[in-house]
Amino acid sequence: MLKINNLHAKVESKDILKGINLEVNPGEVHAIMGPNGSGKSTLASVLAGRADYEVTEGSVEFMGKELLEMSPEDRAREGIFLAFQYPVEIPGVSTTNFLKTALNEVRKYRGQDPIDAVSFLNLVKEKSKLVEIDPSLLKRSLNEGFSGGEKKRNEVFQMAMLEPKLALLDETDSGLDIDALRIVANGVNKLKNKDNAVIVVTHYQRLLDYIVPDFVHVLYNGKIVKSGTKELALELEEKGYDWIKNPVSA
């Protein structure tokens, strides 16, 4: 599904990614861990197409297409979803209205007719139940005055609505208490199936208690320095990131 090959990227002339290689197949959950400043969020942003980042080398293939040549909106329409670490607030635009526009754009790209009002409302009902989000929140302006937990839950709700092939969760656990974390993780788990994939970017192991990864990769200084199974995350938790920073013990 996703093949990242020797990806280099910089922001404002500072090299952040220095040769990432990663392959993700349908049905898989990958966790990307690493200390602050290792390039985890940059990787998610580059895949989603944020303009501040410049790719200097390497390629990314998504569903057989060259991802880096597509506009951010086309990447989204192809099925890439980024759950933002810091979701923006848009005054005056309700979540419902926002998602209807988004969904219809995706449908148009796929040659489908716009969704009718009844089907859309049913979908909202079904998915809001699935991710346990209060439907009254959805009528309010997108994320405006939402708590940190509500914003993250709204990200997962949007993911449920748009049904992406590949979801990138960028530090979705940051700022969440343990109950909110459980609800958000449950939502992600319920959306998992054999045809889609998830990349979880996280600093801490605790999210991985709920979203259990098939693979764990440790990013350090712009490169994946270690890959393994979920046990690697536990080992990291125990030994700390200094363990991988020291090349001798790695």
Partner: protein
């Protein structure tokens, strides 16, 4: 939203949509302004002597005035002798049905998307269409007539309802009020006249479409709306103009009079040619609109969506004279490229327990400048007056400007005035968030701007709200990214 997107797609490949010139023979006054011009206009309209004198008085006063300079606008010099002050379609038509209308004129309406036939049949909107300066067709007159409602050209009302016209013309906006009202009083060509009798609720939206049509013709409409006791009327004004290089002056006057317990709702969607992307051409829109709540518990509500014109100078105001009267002003002003707007309102509280509400949304893009200018004045006698003002500015890009000039004068210590203001910018992070959900930049801007203006757009009648949404999207096309 799909409406917006469709419109954006249509428009990305086209220039100003309403840029076409209808080829109807004009019967125009010679270029320039002097007493003879005014006599010519007055004679053309077969006006009574008092009105000619009124015009001449205004003209003589106008000669003593100079163009105002206090506004935050750069206005190129206007040669007032280089303007044709009167132009009318030659064949003054008398129609029984729309089929008799000059086919070319009907074509113009069709291009504007306001097929009268459709309007009559579908929406129940009575249209008093103004092509250049003379009303050429009025629909629904009979039905309105049954209720005693008068809706006709002002030039006609001068003959049919001389007492009302004489009493109220210039009663709210004195001819000497300012440079442009004075000019308008001298040379006004035509406009609408509305009278809603006591206790009558006008069952349909009254609507006038203005067009500026002949080359070099200034447009000087004059509208007078009177709601008698316990009457209600909603009036719509929409504007489009043909594309052209030369600047065109437009100096209209609108006067509203609300008697006891009556209500007037006046909505405008203004979409005149704003000039091209380099700031060449475009309409100068110098308008004076004012209403008086002269009766107790009366209400006047202005709603405007201003997207067009090269320069807009406009402050629809309410004089709250009657006790317990209410004044409202809802505004969206969009400027793009080199457009300039200095717009806002005045709320003058004279009566007791009077209330006013101001909601202004300014959106600036390109190299444009957008100013809100508002006055809230609470007079000595106005016990317990209340005002709430909300002035928001939205910036797209970093070469445009938003300015706010709120003036507050309170002379009664029971008065309460609230003012809130925000300035926000559509930043790259918001655009990227939308992109990441599959929404392209242009659609994202339309989505956000329509959301931003929702409170104002909600005040518009349904069919107007749709048109206004489209206009916002069109006006901001190409402004981000």
């Amino acid at each position: 939203m799909s409406e917006n997107i469709k419109v954006l797609e249509e428009i990305t490949s086209s220039e100003y949509k309403y840029g076409f010139v209808t080829n109807i023979e004009s019967d125009a006054a010679p270029m320039g302004l002097n007493e003879d011009t005014i006599r010519f206009i007055s004679a053309k309209k077969n006006e009574p002597e008092w009105l000619l004198e009124w015009r001449l008085k205004a003209y003589r006063h106008w000669l003593t005035l100079e163009q105002p300079t206090w506004q935050n606008l750069k206005i190129p010099e206007i040669n007032f002798q280089n303007i044709i002050y009167y132009s009318a379609p030659k064949k003054k038509p008398q129609y029984n049905s729309l089929d008799e209308i000059d086919p070319e004129l009907r074509d113009t309406f069709n291009k504007l998307g306001i097929s009268l036939t459709e309007q009559k049949r579908l929406s129940g909107v009575a249209v008093d269409a103004v092509i250049d300066s003379v009303s050429v067709t009025t629909t629904y007159k009979e039905k309105l007539g049954e209720l005693g409602i008068v809706f006709c050209a002002l030039s006609e009302a001068v003959h049919t309802h001389p007492d009302l016209v004489k009493k109220y013309l210039g009663a709210v906006v004195p001819m000497t009020d300012n440079f442009y009202t004075c000019l308008n009083s001298a040379v006004f060509s035509d406009g609408s006249f509305v009278y809603i009798p006591k206790g009558v609720r006008c069952p349909m939206e009254l609507s006038t479409y203005f067009r500026i049509n002949a080359e070099n013709t200034g447009q000087f409409e004059r509208t007078l709306i009177i709601a008698d006791e316990e009457a209600y009327v909603s009036y719509l004004e929409g504007c489009t103009a043909p594309m052209r290089d030369e600047n065109q002056l437009h100096a209209a006057v609108v006067e509203l009079i609300a008697l006891d317990k009556s209500e007037i709702k006046y909505s405008t969607v203004q979409n005149w040619y704003p000039g091209d992307k380099e700031g060449k051409g475009g309409i100068y829109n110098f308008v004076t609109k004012r209403g008086i709540c002269s009766g107790v518990k009366s209400k006047i509500s202005w709603t405007q969506v201003e997207t067009g014109s090269a320069i807009t100078w406009k402050y629809p105001s309410v004089i709250l004279k009657g006790d317990d009267s209410i004044g409202e002003f809802y505004s969206v002003a969009v400027t793009n490229n080199y457009q300039q707007a200095d717009t806002g309102t005045k709320m003058i509280h004279i009566g007791k327990n009077t209330k006013s509400r101001i909601v202004s949304k300014g959106i600036s893009a390109g190299r444009s400048h957008n100013s809100y200018r508002g006055l809230v004045e609470i007079m000595k006698r106005a016990d317990n007056a209340r005002n709430f003002s909300q002035c928001d500015s939205l910036l797209l890009g970093d070469r445009c400007g938003a300015h706010t000039f709120p003036y507050v004068e309170v002379r009664n210590n029971t008065g309460k005035v609230e003012h809130e203001a925000t300035t926000s910018k559509i930043g790259e992070d918001i655009i990227f968030y939308c992109n990441q959900r599959g929404i392209a930049t242009e659609e994202a801007v339309a989505l956000i701007v329509n959301g931003y203006c929702k409170e104002v757009l909600n005040q518009l009648p349904m069919e107007f709200a749709v048109e206004a949404q489209k206009l916002l999207a069109i006006s901001l096309e190409g402004s981000v990214g």
